[in-house]
């Protein structure tokens, strides 16, 4: 029996995890083997004269454990920590970022462009990370980007980062995950991480799989979800991993001799869409998929990918058909293939092609996407005659992602974000891009923290507190399409008057309408007419205020992620957005006198927060002095809290 058929059960192919355990005679619920015990260690310590056995077992306790430090996991961990949970982020590599890191160097796409060519860029934590990179890595170095992310994560209070650490196994208590058994390879230490809520953002989802969470692999057939782009019958094909490479012009002829593991590139068989124009930045279709156990095949496929990547380079250098490569030499080749697909866990809702193409509105929307249905052909480069991707369809507008697709249907304290969420293969072909995964990550991290705060599990949060989750996300500058904020705690909604020193476009009264970007042709902004500018809000009765939060413009119709080609045009920037507010100050009026509360001279975020000791006031005044280049300031939202 073929391995894929083993997993097929009737018309709905949900599979309980029957993963071959790490040790031969163990089950997922018992302690099979102890990686941390070192009974036979014969350590002679010359410094102290002692013989000893090192302690290589530790237990840690957190509210929320996030496994997987790619972009989704980073956003999940940060949002959980910021929302009050003691959080750990466990990453099995020496760097953060996953496929976005210097190890793989895939671009952080999201809604990079809709069909009309215009981006609908993600805000919230992912934007903060990308802005942090623009400020601290103007040279656009990938290794430096790794450390930009490292800085972003390690500076966060309430958050512990563990690198070089993999979650190997879930330890259960009933149907809930009690702890994650982890191995930190650099310290030879077994960690047992206890948490109330677990968030698996690791892509392959080993922790989730070992917890017994239902998942599936392969491609659904057309009939199951009525997906026009699905195959007629279900099969095991999963999109593959890719090895990227980059080359540079050395200014002189650079001969190339292919290494021993090279696999010849059969150019005559290649589909015409296998383009080589941007060879200096890598060829994304050097990909090997699988219709079997793509995780088990990873090392074999990695070796093949190395062969194919070098084979393609050999073809460009030595076929005689690319004279422009004469002076080019490889300056970086990825050693860790960037993965696209393996396990997809089952939630209370399985998102499918129709939800996306039909732009379905969900009551529990917490994230969104808009990348095309970018399904790669089965087999990847081993299926040369097919186009590398079908690009089935582009989206006219963004689609919504529901919260019910982000938690496990059968492991009650497990959430997930990234490529492993509850969706069909076709849906994955769009939502797998990292900025979209980041919106999911921010949602589940926030949800995890709310679960801890309210002592509930994700399903209960979904049933009873979804509006609260959405309101928190909106306040934290996540964008939820078709869902204006209605936060009744926002004092700015009850002002008696709000006015600005000048108005170039929009209206200052729109700053409390609950939508923090211009969207689908409707404006939701106020823009000044020149700078400096002021906004003033007045209340009928005095109010206690301790927080003023503003959302300024960063131009969400322009991408800010790092691209190897470093474009700068109307839809991409390679600098700090000029629209971003740089200098702003806040005054409160107390007993008729304006008092200066705080002044920010070098703001670096779209969401600007003034938090201070509570004061009774009848008015606030914002003085906007400068942007990073734009001559006017544009704001989308103003909030005040007691």
């Amino acid at each position: 029996m073929k391995r894929r058929e083993f997993f097929k059960k009737g018309s709905i192919s949900a599979v309980a995890a029957t993963v071959v355990p790490i040790n031969a005679n163990a089950s997922s619920s018992s302690n099979h083997g102890d990686l941390g015990k070192r009974k036979s260690d014969k350590w002679q310590q010359l410094a102290t004269g002692k013989m000893g056995i090192p302690v290589r077992k530790k237990e840690l306790n957190f509210d929320v454990a996030v496994l997987g430090g790619g972009m989704a996991g980073i956003c999940a961990a940060i949002s959980a920590a910021r929302n009050g949970s003691k959080t750990v982020l466990v990453q099995d590599r020496p760097v953060l970022g996953g496929n976005a890191s210097s190890e793989v160097r895939v671009h952080v796409h999201g809604v990079t462009h809709l069909k009309n060519g215009i981006p609908e860029r993600e805000t919230g934590i992912i934007e903060e990370v990308l802005l942090h990179n623009r400020f601290n890595n103007p040279q656009e170095s990938y290794p430096v980007w790794d450390h930009v992310i490292y800085d972003f994560v390690t500076r966060e209070p309430n958050l512990t980062l563990m690198l070089n650490t993999q979650a190997l196994e879930a330890k259960m208590q009933g149907d809930k995950i009690k702890s994650a058994r982890c191995w930190q390879m650099t310290t030879e230490t077994e960690y047992t991480i206890f948490a109330d809520v677990f968030v698996d953002c690791s892509g392959d989802g080993l922790l989730a799989a070992t917890s017994g969470a239902l998942y599936r692999t392969g491609r659904e057939g057309k009939a199951e979800y009525n997906e026009k782009y699905a195959p007629d019958e279900p099969d095991g094909w999963q999109m593959g991993a890719t090895i990227l490479l980059s080359s540079k012009d050395m200014g002189r002829p650079m001969p190339f001799e292919a290494p021993s593991f090279t696999l010849k590139y059969e150019a005559e068989e290649a589909h015409k869409r296998r383009k080589l124009k941007h060879f200096s930045e890598g060829i994304w279709w050097v990909e090997v998929g699988s219709e079997g156990d793509i995780i088990a095949e990873f090392e074999e496929n990695r070796h093949k990918l190395m062969g194919y990547a070098y084979g393609l380079w050999d073809y460009m250098k030595n076929s005689g058909k690319f004279p422009e490569t004469e002076n080019y030499a490889l300056d970086w080749v990825c050693s860790l293939p960037g993965r696209r697909e393996s396990r997809r866990f089952i939630g209370d809702y399985i998102m499918s092609e129709g939800d996306m193409l039909g732009y379905k509105h969900f009551k529990d929307t917490v994230a969104y996407g808009g990348w095309s249905l970018d399904e790669h052909n089965p087999g990847g480069i081993e299926n040369l005659s097919e186009p590398p991707s079908y690009f089935h369809e582009h989206f006219n507008k963004v689609y919504e992602i529901p919260f019910r697709s982000l938690y496990s249907a059968n492991v009650p304290n497990l959430l997930f974000a990234g490529r492993n969420i509850s969706q069909t293969h076709i849906a994955l072909s769009s939502s797998r891009v990292m900025a979209t995964c980041s919106t999911m990550g921010m949602a589940v991290g926030t949800a995890a923290a709310l679960c801890v705060k309210k002592n509930v599990l994700p399903r209960e949060l979904s049933n009873d507190y979804i509006e609260e989750l959405q309101e928190q996300l909106l306040r934290d500058d996540a964008f939820i399409p078709n869902r204006p904020a209605v936060d009744t705690n926002n004092l700015a909604k009850n002002v008696a008057d709000i006015f600005a020193s000048s108005t170039g476009s929009g209206d200052v009264k729109l700053l409390t309408d609950g939508v923090s970007r211009d969207f689908e042709g409707e404006i939701h902004h106020w823009k000044s007419d020149g700078l400096p500018a002021q906004i003033q809000m007045e209340w009928e009765d005095p109010v206690d205020v301790s927080k003023v939060e503003i959302k300024c413009d960063t131009n969400v119709n322009k991408n800010i992620m790092m691209l190897k080609s470093s474009p700068s045009n109307d839809t991409f920037t390679n600098t700090v957005p000029i629209e971003l507010l740089k200098s702003i100050s806040l005054d409160l009026r107390i007993e008729g006198e304006w008092r200066s509360i705080n002044s920010i001279k070098k703001n670096k975020t779209r969401l600007i927060k003034f938090h201070f000791d509570s004061m009774k006031t009848t008015a606030i005044r914002l003085k906007i002095k400068e942007t990073y280049g734009a001559k006017d300031a544009k704001l989308f939202e103003l909030r005040c809290y007691s």
């Binding site: 895939v106 671009h107 796409h109 990079t112 462009h113 069909k115 009309n116 060519g117 215009i118 890719t242 990227l244 383009k275 124009k277 941007h278 930045e281 890598g282 060829i283 994304w284 279709w285 970018d374 590398p388 991707s389 690009f391 891009v433 008696a496 008057d497 006015f499 020193s501 000048s502 007419d529 003033q536 007045e538 009928e540 009765d541 005095p542 691209l563 190897k564 080609s565 474009p567 045009n569 109307d570 839809t571 007993e591 008729g592 006198e593 009848t618």
Partner: protein
């Protein structure tokens, strides 16, 4: 018959220029039979980097305000759409109406949207040269000719407009400018003010004329007039700002007050602000006036008297503002007592 007057070398930018920001062109200036000035420039129908599209020379015409008037093609030259299809008569008319429309969607369409470098794969950019995937309704474009429309629209309404205004502005006498200033067209008035500022002309009759024109076109001319007066000699600024304030409507008084506050040292008196304050209903305007009075720090009883009347205003915000303003001033014994009474009754919301 048009009489050729002058030629000017100008450096012009266009959003389709990829390699350089500016290119040099020759702007021709001619006088029409009715004495008006007309400008023309020979341009390319498309700016095409990969030589796929057919490029034809087009002569474009503007008036002295830099407003596009029409275009001409040489005899035998035609414009073409995609796949070589020639423009129909309707297409030419449509193109003209697109170029005339200063608010055409082409204002916001960008060059790369026209040429459409699309991100197809993960990191791969795949240029689709010549094809246009911009989504414009049929009322706003010519199907198959978006690139031509884009290129010519930005010629008609782009950077060359300011160049023309600068060139034409040097041509007129003061008398002619004052005749223009009597126009009902705000664009003409703003043009005149622009020229006067460039010439640093602040003669009394000129300013009077500008102020009069502005008062009948406040919505579109106030901003330009304030800039003009701010660059005038101090005494003239003071005199005419107050004159404008007295005669303007509410929206523009706030702009004027902002300018006054920024140049507060130039004012010897604020009488016009004092006498009007009790009639005002707009909180922002009153707030601004009281800030000005506070900045001036005068102990004028007249001010206190007028502000006292605001304690009975129907708008509570204004009452409160007035209270706190008066609480910091030296008042007569009676007025002080009256203020304290006001406080005792209203302190919960003050």
């Amino acid at each position: 018959m048009q009489q050729k007057l002058r030629q000017y070398k100008i450096n012009v930018s266009h959003p389709a220029f990829e390699e350089e920001k500016y290119r040099e062109y020759v702007l021709n200036e001619r006088v029409e039979e009715d004495g008006s000035l007309i400008y023309c420039l020979d341009v390319e129908s498309v700016i095409c980097i990969d030589h796929i599209c057919k490029i034809v020379p087009v002569r474009m015409y503007w008036n002295h305000l830099g407003q596009y008037k029409h275009f001409l093609l040489e005899e035998g030259i035609i414009l073409e759409k995609g796949k070589g299809e020639p423009f129909s008569d309707e297409d030419y008319l449509m193109l003209h109406s697109i170029l005339e429309d200063q608010n055409s969607p082409y204002r916001n369409v960008t060059y790369s949207q026209i040429t459409k470098e699309k991100v197809l794969g993960e990191g791969e950019l795949d240029a689709i040269s010549g094809a246009t995937a911009v989504m414009l309704s049929s009322e706003n474009t010519i199907e198959g000719a978006a690139w031509t429309c884009f290129t010519l629209w930005h010629w008609a309404n782009g950077n060359v407009v300011q160049k023309i205004r600068k060139v034409s502005g040097a041509y007129w006498s003061e008398k002619e400018l004052l005749e223009f200033a009597m126009s009902e067209d705000y664009q003409v008035i703003n043009y005149v003010i622009e020229v006067l500022m460039r010439r640093k002309n602040y003669s009394p009759r000129v300013i009077e004329s500008v102020v009069a024109s502005t008062l009948s076109n406040q919505l579109y001319c106030m901003k330009m007039t304030i800039s003009y007066l701010e660059s005038a000699p101090d005494s003239l600024y003071e005199k005419y700002m107050m004159q404008l304030y007295i005669q303007s409507n509410s929206n523009f008084r706030i702009r004027l007050l902002q300018s006054i506050q920024a140049h507060i040292d130039l004012f010897r008196t604020f009488q016009p602000l004092i006498t009007r304050i009790s009639e005002l209903i707009d909180y922002q305007e009153i707030d601004l006036i009281l800030e000005i009075f506070g900045d001036v720090n005068t102990h004028s009883e007249a001010i206190s008297e007028e502000v006292f009347s605001l304690l009975n205003h129907e708008n509570n915000l204004i009452q409160r503002r007035a209270y706190w303003f008066l609480s910091k001033r030296k008042l007569t014994v009676n007025k002080q007592s009256e203020l304290e009474d006001f406080y005792s009754i209203n302190k919960d919301w003050l």
